[in-house]
């Protein structure tokens, strides 16, 4: 089938999509958005997190056809500009806080953190933990990830995401 959808504010079409494919497969293998990762393909790790019509989801659990005419935000869409050093506030915070080690969980965590701060610009630690409970990280123990979200939240005092 043919899939028409908007990704990071631009329209895309994918041809020859198999009806059993997941949105994750479409994004990675057909549309070139390989930021979202496949670490479990069953919604248990959050590495494939994207925003679908304004809601944080695991792309591996969305059937391709369910994303027809939808709006998707991926980690690639959080970079505001084109220059190599342009970074969104959440991305910058993750780097500054040292929250990136192997980086496999990073895209999913950045999308989930971005969504959290968009809805709640000043979350408590408990709220951050609950919001990120669906994103596994094996490298960091989450300590610096919490630092990163706090840092990003602090930086938002100038305005919302």
């Amino acid at each position: 089938m043919r899939l028409s959808l908007t990704v990071n504010s631009r329209p895309y079409q994918a041809e020859g999509v198999w009806e059993g494919e997941s949105l994750l497969y479409v994004l990675r293998e057909r549309l070139g958005f390989w930021g979202a990762k496949n670490a479990c393909e069953q919604g248990e790790c959050g590495s494939c997190s994207v925003v679908l019509d304004g809601v944080l989801v695991c792309a591996c659990l969305v059937a391709a056809g369910q994303a027809q005419h939808s709006e998707i935000l991926t980690v690639e869409g959080l970079t505001p500009g084109r220059s190599p050093d342009d970074l969104g506030p959440v991305q910058r915070a993750f780097l500054e806080a040292g929250a990136v080690q192997c980086g496999f969980c990073t895209p999913g965590l950045i999308v989930a953190s971005h969504e959290l701060l968009r809805q709640n610009p000043a979350p408590t630690d408990a709220q951050v933990r609950e919001a990120l409970a669906g994103n596994l990280c094996r490298c960091t123990g989450y300590e610096k990830i919490l630092d990163a979200v706090r840092l990003a939240a602090a930086g938002l005092e100038g305005g919302p995401l």
Partner: protein, 288 residues
């Protein structure tokens, strides 16, 4: 594989009638796992997420009717006061990503004995509204499950909604898992008190081939509460009452040993949860 994408309920029912082998998919939190792993290759997927009627909830003559497409996140945010037990249970489901897509209707469709929504629905005495091109019917939740991952749906039927009166009194839900998030219940317990009807409702999860009520426990407690007019003049429950209630809940379960826990532990955990849930619910009732 075909992908069917109805945009009205009538279309959806027609599609299911024409293609009974089509696998309905809502949040995909069960179906897509099966498809991703090649465990299921249905001839067609029937996407129900574009059917607006299924995503609505409302009141119908005092009874809440919640469409099968209402996600756990929406249950928490919009139905927290009307269905507190279900809201607590919804908060324990998976992760934010899962809660944003997963639905109670989907949980019913999958009919897992570990489904988190099932015990609160049992405790509330909810009913499942089921439909096909042939018509609609209503099935009490306790009659809806017939075996592990099996329900009473005919091949051409879909879950439309569940119906429940808004909570008339305190409700509780507890779930034991070996991790603090994203964990399938080792055992779960739900309790609902209805002072107006003088009814006690319970639901047991992950401790039997299907979710089930602890009917003897309910009857015992209803008797105790009625006998001493504790509904009308609430005072502390005696420990013997609480313990007996807990024992009867445990007796109602028939858990197995599996990779997540032993039968013995499940029984023990149910007993503890039943005792605590009753104390919390009764405490709340006393204070209200």
């Amino acid at each position: 594989m075909d992908f069917l994408s109805p945009t009205t309920l009538a279309e959806a029912l027609e599609a299911k009638a024409e293609r009974p082998e089509a696998l309905p998919i809502m949040g995909g939190t069960d179906v897509m796992v099966e498809v991703n792993f090649g465990r299921r290759r249905p001839a067609a997927l029937l996407d129900l997420t574009k059917v607006p009627e299924l995503a609505e909830w409302g009141r119908d003559d005092g009874v809440l009717r919640v469409g099968a497409g209402v996600t756990y996140t929406r249950v928490i945010e919009e139905l927290g006061r009307l269905l507190p037990g279900l809201a607590i249970a919804s908060r324990t489901v998976g992760s934010p990503q899962i809660r944003n897509r997963g639905t109670v209707g989907g949980n019913l469709g999958s009919a897992s004995p570990a489904g988190d929504a099932h015990p609160p629905l049992l405790a509330a005495g909810a009913e499942v509204e089921v439909a096909s091109a042939r018509g609609r019917r209503t099935v009490p939740v306790e009659e809806f499950f017939i075996g592990p991952k099996r329900n009473v749906l005919a091949p051409d039927e879909l879950v439309l909604a569940f119906r429940s009166r808004p909570a008339a009194g305190p409700e509780q839900f507890c779930k034991v898992g070996t991790r603090n998030a994203m964990v399938i219940a080792v055992a779960s317990f739900s309790l609902a008190l209805d002072p107006a009807e003088r009814r006690v409702g319970t639901g047991i999860g992950s401790a039997a081939p299907t979710p089930r009520r602890a009917k003897e426990a309910e009857a015992f407690l209803e008797d105790e509460l009625a006998e001493d007019d504790l509904w009308g003049m609430p005072r502390a429950l005696g420990p013997q009452v609480v313990n007996r209630f807990s024992e009867l809940v445990v007796l109602a379960a028939s858990p197995i040993d599996d990779v997540r826990g032993t039968a013995a532990y499940r029984k023990h955990a149910l007993g503890v949860m039943a005792r605590r849930a009753l104390c919390w619910a009764w405490d709340e009732y006393q204070r209200s």
